[in-house]
């Protein structure tokens, strides 16, 4: 199992750098992972998306469909890519500590 080390923290991750134990997530985790996804500063806008994803996941056990993310956070899709350059799935979901989105690639 690969690990990801940053700021003295050490995380078990998969090859794509996704957190392997979604349960241990907290805001620090998000900040720690931000660097790998081209996010330099976590602004309020970032947190809005991250918290929305996290809460949705905790409630429904899945990541929301992208249209829902946009609707609920109020960001357009390209704004989300501006916030998370590696995209909502690889970027935002990773920071929110969700399991790696699978399926449709």
């Amino acid at each position: 199992m690969p690990t990801f080390e940053v700021n003295d923290h050490k995380y078990e991750v998969d090859e794509d750098g996704f957190l392997q134990e979604p349960g241990i997530w907290n805001e620090t985790v998000a900040s720690d992972f931000a660097t790998t996804e081209g996010v330099t500063d976590l602004t309020e806008a970032h947190w809005k998306v991250i918290h929305y994803l996290r809460n949705y996941y905790l409630q429904f056990g899945i990541a929301p469909m992208i249209r829902k993310v946009c609707k609920e956070t109020g960001f357009k899709l390209n704004e989300i890519y501006q916030l998370f350059p590696s995209g909502p799935a690889k970027g935002a979901c990773k920071l929110a500590g969700l399991p790696k989105p699978t399926g449709c690639v």
Partner: protein
């Protein structure tokens, strides 16, 4: 700090017009008719009287940059640097000088990329990744294609068939290709339910998505060792692998139970009959690399039977529909089994609901 070069994005593919040979530009949309001069060689005649010669060569699709450069060199040598690939992954050289055809064919043959695949032939086999690149595969694709095309080569190089015959390979039920509508389809299949990896499942899967993914509803939530996971009702599973697509913890590879099924009689074109799905011919043959002799033999049997019995222009599926499926099974000697009888959603509509019978 060096300023980052501005990233270029969303430019889309280059405009095709840049790549069209001059003769095409001049006669764009003004083609009048075509003829097949010999297998693999077409001539298209324009309203203007200009002629465009196409030489179509076989390609394994998985191409080395060396080979692509070889094609580029040949294009430079014979046709002003213009070439294209086809929707079935052959390469086509676009000539204006008829006299260059034979030399080009010679060079291609020497390099191992023979010419053929037009008209009443078997063209290249549309296929997928298999063991070369995909996690989902129940078989290899490239190896199957190579094994079959070696055997069927005379049907590529010569017009020996009543009509076109399109073969496709897919390594799993996702069917990345037109497998579901091919004259002959070779499809990798699993035959055992997924083995749930309860250890990692809760961490790597979205359970609701996983449950929803199963076409037959065979997946149920379950608690295993105190952790949320799922169980598979094995009798309800038909090994489609869709659960594995959405969740890595549901692998269903199993060397002894994975293998090949063979399907026949599909088509895409609207010529004569409407497009048709491919139908089951052989439910299972073993994975027998590197040459899959059972598969090759079965496919050759289908091809020769078709070649012998069909009428001109009649595609494989059209021939079978004319003579009837019982005759197809009789002529090929394939066994008709319980698996041939549909039991999915629209099964009832495939039952023989008339007294139209042949004896």
């Amino acid at each position: 700090m060096t300023p980052k070069p501005k990233r270029i994005t969303d430019i889309g593919p280059p405009n095709y017009e840049k790549f069209l040979p001059p003769v095409v530009k001049r006669n764009y949309g003004q083609w009048k008719y075509h003829e097949i001069l010999s297998p693999g060689v077409l001539v298209h005649v324009a309203e203007s009287g200009e002629k465009l010669y196409t030489v179509r060569a076989a390609s394994p699709r998985l191409l080395s940059v060396h080979t692509i450069r070889l094609f580029a060199d040949l294009a430079d040598k014979y046709c002003g640097g213009y070439l294209r690939f086809t929707s079935r992954n052959n390469v086509e050289f676009l000539l204006t000088d008829e006299k260059q055809i034979e030399p080009l064919k010679g060079d291609l043959a020497a390099a191992g990329y023979p010419v053929g695949g037009t008209g009443r032939t078997i063209s290249n086999i549309v296929h997928t990744q298999g063991w070369v690149h995909c996690h989902s595969s129940a078989t290899d694709a490239s190896g199957l294609v190579k094994s079959m095309m070696d055997g069927l080569f005379p049907y590529f190089a010569e017009e020996k068939l009543p009509a076109k015959l399109r073969i496709a390979v897919a390594c799993c039920l996702n069917m990345c290709g037109a497998v579901h509508c091919s004259d002959i389809a070779v499809l990798g299949v699993h035959r055992r339910p997924p083995k749930v990896r309860h250890d990692i499942l809760p961490n790597v899967c979205e359970v609701p998505t996983l449950i929803a993914s199963c076409p037959t509803g065979a997946i149920r939530p379950a608690t295993v060792n105190g952790k949320q996971s799922v169980e598979v009702i094995e009798e309800q599973c038909m090994y489609c692998g869709n659960c594995y697509t959405v969740c890595p913890a549901m692998p269903l590879n199993d060397p002894d139970n994975d293998g090949i099924s063979i399907w026949v009689g599909g088509k895409v074109s609207n010529a004569r009959s409407t497009p048709k799905f491919t139908k089951l011919a052989i439910p299972f043959l073993p994975n027998n690399p590197p040459r899959w002799p059972e598969v090759v033999e079965a496919v050759e049997k289908i091809v020769t039977t078709y070649a012998e019995h069909a009428k001109p222009f009649e595609r494989l599926g059209e021939w079978i529909e004319r003579v009837g499926w019982p005759r197809f099974f009789q002529l090929t000697g394939f066994e008709f089994t319980r698996y041939h009888i549909d039991d999915f959603k629209h099964a009832g509509l495939t039952f023989a609901r008339s007294a139209h019978l042949k004896f």
